[in-house]
């Protein structure tokens, strides 16, 4: 590869010449992507999940246009308290007289953001721990994997509750609490893959040619565990969204931010469950379930495309 790149530089002066390795690589990647998409398309569930996600992402982005800034304001609320669904308020109102549908739209942003960031944090920690543990072995791996095991046996929710109780209530606390409690699974997965990759002969060759630890982990192991990490991220997102909703429902979220779990918590505090105000409780619950389902479907599809060992399951 390095050889090719030098020719690339030399050929540049020649003008025409074979369109260099970079172009070749690009074409190859495009081809791979197209193949990936073809296979992905064959998973009906995955396509459905993706469609749902696209719609929800668009709604989240368009929330300020669709619902308007003032719809979150309690002082500007126009409706009465806990009004039933009507032409004016399609999903009724909350206890402050705000439109539940508008709040639901705004909540999409928070749920998606927390889900994505927390999943990213979780997978980043997991990948880092997994790759280094798989690469360095020895006492380092032993210590790190015991820590991982410890986190693995700790109930995620209890740990997340403890974390978000001691820290100030904010979105970042929630993200951190989810991120640092859900990484062990990823770490174990990535470590196994790292061990498998590192036992291949080309790694030994790279090492013989003078490749250092950093080079091997970044240039050889990482690209090989990347598909796994990608699939894992998609799956962790749904877990993160559920956990965020749970924490907010338990009153451990930021009370000033509109989120789906927070809406459920507000509804519970208003006494909506015993008063039968279904329009306040059901929509956020269904939304959470739908998004979590969509991410799971996508994750499964990506996984079965990228990991031939899983066969043709859908």
């Amino acid at each position: 590869m390095t050889v090719h790149e030098t020719t690339d530089g030399a050929a540049g002066q020649g003008g025409a010449a074979p369109r260099s390795a970079r172009a070749l690589a690009r074409a190859r990647r495009l081809h791979a992507l197209a193949r990936f998409w073809r296979q992905y398309r064959s998973h009906r569930g995955g396509v459905f999940g993706l469609a749902v996600l696209v719609v929800i992402a668009l709604l989240a982005l368009a929330a300020p246009l669709l619902a308007g800034e003032e719809s979150r304001s309690v002082t500007d609320a126009t409706g009465g308290a806990l009004e039933e669904p009507s032409g004016e308020f399609l999903l009724g109102t909350d206890q402050f007289g705000r439109d539940v549908l508008a709040l639901l739209l705004w909540g999409t942003r928070v749920s998606l953001m927390v889900g994505l960031l927390a999943a990213f944090l979780s997978v980043a920690i997991g990948a880092l721990v997994g790759i280094t543990a798989g690469h360095f072995k020895g006492w380092y791996a032993t210590v790190v994997m015991r820590i991982t095991d410890w986190f693995l046996v700790m109930p995620t929710l209890v740990l997340a509750i403890a974390l978000s109780t001691v820290m100030a209530r904010s979105l970042w606390t929630t993200i951190l609490a989810i991120g640092v409690t859900t990484w062990p699974t990823t770490a174990r997965l990535v470590r196994a893959q790292t061990l498998a990759v590192e036992s291949r002969p080309y790694i030994e060759r790279a090492r013989a040619l003078g490749g250092g630890h950093g080079h091997i982990m970044a240039r050889h192991v990482l690209p090989n565990v990347m598909p796994l990490v990608l699939a894992q991220t998609t799956l962790v997102i749904s877990l993160a969204i559920l956990t965020e909703a749970t924490l907010a429902f338990l009153g451990l979220g930021d009370p000033t931010v509109v989120s789906w779990g927070g809406l459920l918590q507000d509804a519970r505090e208003a006494g909506a469950v015993s008063s039968g105000n279904w329009w306040y409780i059901t929509p956020p619950g269904l939304a959470i379930a739908l998004v979590a389902l969509a991410f799971t479907l996508c994750g499964r599809a990506i996984e079965s495309v990228l990991n031939p060992k899983l066969g043709v399951s859908r």
């Binding site: 806990l82 009370p255 039968g276 379930a289």
Partner: protein, 625 residues
């Protein structure tokens, strides 16, 4: 025993936000869901109480934890209410008009120098173990509180001015004072039996919850207690004022308010008060239910914003990190002028509250004071902006108020994570003050008592239950209530120390003439209002509900239109009359909206669980690789 999660060691029954513990909070989720589900799907157990050999049981849903069953330590409202039932006090308050009526003492008089009080103790009262109640018991109780610091934990403020307490005869109690004390006919101290309590070694550790039945002389006798599960009392048939009509009184724990409401609908409990009260949605839906009466009365509580004026000790040592800008009276006035109390009453309490005025709730008519027209901080955002300009906090290009040091004006407000009203009002404050260009961070914590005692807040949501005698809620704003050491818990509310207020406080405590004393108390409230450290937002009503097919009648306090739970006496439970035997119709059949909601939530949960399960299974399969 940990104190209720609130600041200050204090004396009186109060609802100051007994906090749910963390675990309870997490349990709440599951509970509220099961509440929704269980209600319509499970058939109600028919009148469990009637089955028990015809025993009439009154069950009350409560949420607040009992901090201790020792009258020397108990501070939460639920515990002090139970003590009212277990032990007689020297005097009681009339349910009609809060005036003092005889209880354990039948008569009382003060000497001419106002320093010696003589009480006549009734001769027809017995402890539940058969021993006679004598003046010696009362003398021993007060002396123990004066000698043992641990025994003074809960009610020490009543005895701190006592010089000597003696019992010259079985029916004569003599209290000598250092200075005149106006609260002598309002000594809210449970009198305990000497022959039982003198065996206790360490009052700071003894919680009075091991030996049942607990010896007492009140209308009820405590017979069983299980922490955060239930408290059971049986009627004292020999009570001198007359036996209670119900045979048994049970306080059963429902940590989640919606679960308590569902239990009330099913008839599992006879009474639910909510904590601090039922939400408007719950009250509205219960009002439509059969056999349920919703009772709404003026509350004993005030709900306020408290400013941290700069925490300090008695010696003047400063600590904490309150915002220095709040020491400027103009800034405080601007903040409070931008608060629309009417909107809070209308929108947050939905009319189930009275707009905040001075300090003491209007229910205590003798002491109620409202600011004069020119004194009043009426809602006026324009004036608030002007005040801030005057104080030197101009708006910058981004619309934020900036001080002379160039720092933007950002405050924190301490909020109780388990109180929906705090959070709701927090939302409004953020918007009102945001308009002014002031940032507000709403810090909702499960445990507010630590930052509170440490003075680590700018503003805070505050609230106290007020007794018929206002001495206690006024005392928490005196310099004497400040802590001895930084961050130590003390009686102070929010570190207010004002010489003029203290002078008036001393005067009212020594004033025996009710009218003159009331006048002094009003002057104190006026002074407190002018200092601008407290802004009473509302006096929330007590909104509670009971089953008319289980309780035929019950006394409210005040009798005309008052509350039932947390009275300044035992009138409600003592007077409650059971309904006729044949249990009324049990809830209607068919699927109610509650059921639909329950099923909806269950479906959502099932999907969520499916997703989680899928993830888990996949994860483990992958792990084996």
């Amino acid at each position: 025993m940990d104190r209720p999660e609130q600041h200050g060691s204090s004396t009186n029954p109060r609802t100051r936000r007994g906090r749910l513990r963390l675990l309870a909070a997490s349990g709440v989720a599951a509970m509220s869901l099961t509440a929704g589900l269980a209600t319509p799907l499970n058939p109600a157990p028919h009148e469990a109480e009637a089955a028990d050999g015809g025993k009439k049981t009154l069950t009350v849903a409560v949420a607040q934890s009992v901090d201790s069953l020792s009258p020397f330590l108990a501070q939460t409202l639920v515990s002090t209410s139970i003590h009212r039932l277990m032990y007689d006090f020297l005097t009681n308050y009339d349910a009609k008009d809060n005036s003092t009526v005889p209880a354990m003492a039948t008569e009382w008089e003060s000497s001419d120098d106002k320093l010696t009080w003589t009480y006549t103790i009734r001769s027809d009262a017995k402890w539940s173990d058969g021993e006679k109640v004598t003046a010696e018991d009362a003398a021993w109780t007060f002396n123990t509180m004066m000698e043992d610091e641990a025994a003074a934990t809960a009610n020490g403020s009543f005895t701190s001015n006592f010089k000597k307490v003696t019992a010259p005869g079985p029916d004569k109690l003599v209290v000598e004072l250092k200075k005149p004390q106006a609260t002598m006919t309002a000594l809210d101290v449970p009198i305990v039996p000497k022959h039982v309590w003198e065996k206790v070694d360490d009052f700071s550790k003894f919680n009075n919850d091991q030996d049942f039945p607990v010896v007492g002389n009140g209308p009820f006798v405590l017979t069983e207690y299980k922490r955060d599960s239930y408290v059971k009392l049986t009627a004292n048939k020999d009570y001198w004022r007359g036996a209670p009509k119900f045979d048994e009184l049970v306080f059963r724990y429902y940590k989640d308010q919606d679960a308590a409401v569902a239990a009330l609908r099913k008839g599992e409990v006879s009474f639910a008060a909510g904590s601090p009260s039922l939400t408007p949605a719950q009250a509205n839906s219960l009002a439509k239910a059969d056999n349920i009466k919703v009772n709404e009365g003026p509350g004993r509580r005030f709900f306020a914003l408290a400013v941290n004026p700069g925490a300090r000790t008695k010696d003047g040592e400063e600590f904490g990190d309150g915002h220095p800008a709040l020491q400027d009276a103009k800034v405080r006035e601007a903040l409070f002028t931008a608060v629309d109390r009417e909107t809070i009453v209308d929108r947050v309490f939905q009319g189930n509250a009275v707009e905040g005025e001075g300090y003491i709730p209007p229910r205590f008519g003798d002491y109620f004071w409202k600011p004069s027209a020119e004194q009043k901080r009426a809602y006026d955002p324009a004036k608030a902006a002007e005040l801030l300009d005057d104080a030197g906090y101009e708006k910058n290009a981004e619309g934020k108020r900036v001080g002379k040091d160039g720092k933007p004006l950002d405050f924190r407000i301490l909020c109780h994570a388990t109180d929906p009203n705090d959070k709701a009002v927090g939302k409004y404050l953020q918007e009102w003050w945001g308009e002014l260009g002031i940032g507000l961070k709403v810090d909702c914590l499960d445990n507010v008592s630590d930052p509170w005692a440490a003075g680590e807040y700018d503003l805070a949501f505050d609230g106290w239950s007020v007794n018929p005698d206002p001495d206690f809620v006024l005392g928490i704003h005196t310099c004497a209530a400040l802590p001895n050491k930084p961050k130590e818990s003390s009686a102070t509310d929010n570190f207010i120390c004002d010489k003029e207020f203290d002078k008036l406080y001393g005067q009212q405590l020594a004033e025996y003439d009710p009218a003159k004393r009331a006048d002094l108390v009003k002057q104190m409230q006026s002074r407190l209002y002018d200092t601008g450290y407290m802004n009473v937002l509302a006096y929330p009503n007590a909104v509670e509900a009971y089953r008319t097919d289980q309780i035929k009648s019950i006394t409210t306090m005040p009798q005309a239109a008052g509350n039932i739970y947390g009275q300044d006496g035992y009138w409600s439970w003592w007077s409650a009359v059971p309904a006729d035997d044949d249990a009324g119709s049990e809830g209607s059949g068919g699927l109610s909206t509650g059921a639909m909601v329950g099923i909806g939530v269950a479906a959502v949960l099932a999907i969520g669980a499916g997703v989680l399960f899928g993830l888990r299974r996949r994860a483990t399969a992958e792990d084996r690789e």
